[in-house]
Amino acid sequence: MASIPVEHFPHGAFPARGDDYLSCRRGLLSWAFTLDHKRIGVMYLFAVLAAFLLGGIFAMLIRAQLLKPDGLLFHGATTGAYRPYNQVFTVHGAVMIFLVLIPGIPAAFGNFVLPLMLGAKDVAFPRLNLWSYYLFVLGMLLALGSVVFGGVDTGWTFYTPYSTETSGPVILLVSGAFVLGFSSIFTGINFIVTMHTLRPRGMTWFRMPLFLWALYATAIIQIIATPVLGITLLLLIFERIFHLGIVDSRYGGDPILFQHFFWFYSHPAVYIMILPAMGVMSEVVSTFARREIFGYRFIAMSSVAIATIGFLIWGHHMFPNGQSPLLNAIFSALTMLVSIPSAIKVWNWLATLFKGSLDFKTPMCYALAFMSLFAIGGLTGLYLATLVVDVHVHDTYFLVAHFHYVMNGGVMIMFICAVHYWWPKMTGRLYNETWGRIGCLLWWIAFNLTFFPQFLMGTQGMPRRYATYLPEYQSYHVWSSVGAFMQMGAAVLVAGYLIYSLYRGPRAPANPWGGSTLEWTCASPPPPDNFKTPPAVGRPYDHRGLEWDEKTGGYVRTNPNTGQ
């Protein structure tokens, strides 16, 4: 008979200073050499947020440039005048992809939450975990070094032969991405082994919270696809130095081959980004609807299906490059197919709202924002999968808008959602709900203002990566820029009240939202070893018996969750 796992911290009591993972040891070295998955997760979060700020600043530069058809910031009579703009969008893309979206949810929140949710004391390989963090920092420094040493103007896709010919520290940036790949692989290995070996008694595969299923599917992609990126980037470096003639047409190579290699990683990589975001969505929707998630097995299996089909559709990035119609047909059909598991998830989240008891706390507001933005992002993917339509909108702002609806409106909105959802658990503090909701609404409006006009101008033919454009597109660009500046404003607002909460926010209870997964049975912030005894594991989304407790301002379980 399992007992109610609150033995460390009876209700009404917050952990004493020195009992939680943040204050148990002090000093810079205690962080630098920590093996605690929670501290490593926090360090990742810090690094990712810093990169997010940097990528955001570069986004503002892009949008400022595009306020005027001839360019506001970088303009001139000669083509060389636009090189800085090309460097800016390259940095924006590379930083956001490699330093924010890919590590964002899995490395920061995966590390923090995975062992807690699983009921384990740590990940399987804590030292590897720290090593992967330092690889991340090294990769980040290399990538940012390329900005300091002159800037790279290849675009984040590094397409040959331009990337092998252009001047600038391309090798530095590519090496950065190479090292970041290893960090990603190590994290993936760690997660897979943890989920296989460290599940406590009672935590069967189908009792794992859906965030863990999402992380598992993500980790599979990380360890299978990322080595291909590593090989490709090495090949690019060798091509630049030794002119091997494999992907550089000047020496007899084939640029299309590079695109195949590159997208074999980089398409599955978008699922490395979106799957964990979908996992967060499943957690948040269930918690704030205060009911069991609808269609648990379908959501879990759709993650695996996305990870599998996601490997087979990279060719849709290359529809207009002259590849054979047969190849185009196959990639188009498979791309259509990958939309099905995503659609299944959306329907199941929707059904979870049905007959729930919906509490519109800040994370739930972000979840609803995600539903609308991801619906647009996902459905516009079908336009791009439809061959004849893609031939028109490929490499236009339609594609830019689609990608940002999925990546910014999907992944980053869920990343910010995750920050809010697990903030009390990570920091032990509560932020201001009113400001949280205002921030979410502002962000949602600003986001749509930024990217919806881009769909329109994309179908009207505005190409991407243009430093200058025809005057007829100006109104769209101006609306888009205004929206982008508003997003920056929303981000500053969110950062403001979150930082304020660190110093002045009220202490957080163990379970402020009524979450039913195991991380909410630990104190906020959790003790360094998470669980003194293996926790009792029941069904993951059983909200029966979770009752509001006025004294602690949180939820407490009044009946044991025995999995019946």
Partner: protein
């Protein structure tokens, strides 16, 4: 005049449709738009309904909320599957038509370079603008001289990449007279956003006239008289893509300015130990200028990058093209400004070609015999008084 309202531009979506492929595309696009729009509003309507109906009320617990329903799961797997299968079939069928040129399609060769397109028409004429005939299918034969490019004409709903080392075909049939923007959509470096031109759809008569003019740039289309070489060179400077990188007013571009280029002391980064001096003789300078056009990588001026593509396809291979090169070099030389008050010091104008001679040399359709390559000087006709020719006759 900028229209600030996003909705009032003759429809929110898509621009003017001016080809048969545009009709095929738009039918599929709107089908996808309406179906996905339906599903989007369905999801949003359900979400908002649930948000209102099931908002948390005090003391209320969700009762008997269903946790799974296999029938429903299968339904919302099968129905979207049917929808996307339909999209696939519609999209693929239209794509196949867009991918298979009809037998009567005329072939226009397109060479994409940093940062312009060079179109070669069936009669051998070349230029940086795309001229088309209404209701005449054309196949564009795309290739690249340097890096990846892409040719995109939104009004025709067509786009294909120009891949170095490959030839990619693209066909369409314009249906409406007019002028439409042409873009490069594959990022290709510094001048990517400047790599734009226009496609002009003409009726048959106007197209024939235009082609005849374009085929003989040595003749003034208005005065029906031969042009001086320097004037032809000036036209080529604009239409062959030189102006993208080389200025003629002394400002630094991607490449060296042409102002005062002739007989200016030159230092090279590649090969490093060679210099060219003002005192070097005319033949050496002529050879250098020819080489910079045809083999730009052979000598790279210090302070500039080795990025210029070769212009062999446009300026060598037939007597006509050799003559174009001579005109080009003539124009470069005319920009030497070492004389008093900016007048050329070294440049001595070549004679204007004799009237009918230029017109009588029909340009070769595709790459003439290289064996017939001669010194440009040898083809020159007897002297005639130099025309003024400060402005090219071809106005855009």
């Amino acid at each position: 005049m900028t229209n600030w309202c996003l909705l009032a531009k003759g429809g929110m979506w898509l621009g003017p449709a001016a080809s048969t492929s545009a009709q095929r595309h738009d039918a599929v696009f709107y089908t996808v738009l309406y179906v996905t729009g339906f599903f989007f509003f369905l999801v949003m309507a359900l979400m908002l309904t649930f948000v209102v109906l099931y908002r948390r009320r005090k003391g209320q617990h969700p009762e008997n909320a269903p946790t799974h329903n296999t029938g429903l799961e299968i339904a919302w797997t099968i129905i979207p599957l049917g929808v996307v299968t339909t999209f696939f079939v519609l999209g693929f069928r239209a794509f196949l038509e867009d991918d298979t040129p009809p037998a009567n399609a005329e072939v226009i060769d397109v060479e994409a370079k940093q940062w312009f397109f060079n179109f070669t028409y069936p009669n051998g004429a070349q230029g940086d603008r795309l001229y088309l005939r209404r209701n005449q299918a054309v196949t564009l034969q795309l290739h690249s001289a340097d890096v990846l490019h892409s040719l995109y004409i939104p009004a025709f709903r067509v786009q294909r990449n120009a891949v170095p080392g490959r030839t990619v075909l693209l066909w369409f049939e314009p249906t409406e007279l007019g002028t439409y923007p042409v873009f490069c959509t594959q990022y290709c470096g510094d001048g990517h956003s400047r790599m734009t031109t226009e496609a002009e759809v003409l009726d048959d008569a106007a197209y024939q006239t235009r082609m005849a003019e374009l085929a003989n740039i040595f003749q003034d289309p208005v005065a029906k008289q031969p042009l001086p070489y320097v004037a032809v060179g000036q036209i080529l400077y604009k239409t062959a893509g030189c102006a993208q990188c080389h200025t003629i007013d002394g400002t630094k571009g991607t490449g060296p300015t042409w102002l005062g280029l002739y007989k200016r002391d030159q230092q090279f980064s590649k090969p490093p130990d060679i210099t060219l001096k003002a005192s070097d003789d005319d033949a050496k300078w002529d050879a250098y200028l020819r080489e910079s056009v045809l083999e730009p990588s052979a000598k790279v001026v210090k302070g500039y990058q080795d990025v210029m593509p070769s212009y062999k396809a446009q300026f060598s291979g037939s007597p006509y093209k050799d003559k174009k090169l001579a005109a080009m070099i003539e124009y470069m030389k005319s920009l030497d400004n070492y004389g008093p008050s900016g007048t050329p010091k070294y440049y001595k104008p070549l004679p204007v070609p004799k009237d009918a001679e230029a017109a009588a040399t029909p340009p070769q359709a595709t790459g003439g015999p290289t064996a017939g390559k001669t010194e440009p000087g040898k083809q020159l006709p007897p002297p005639l008084p130099a025309g003024p020719g400060p402005e090219g006759p071809r106005q855009k």
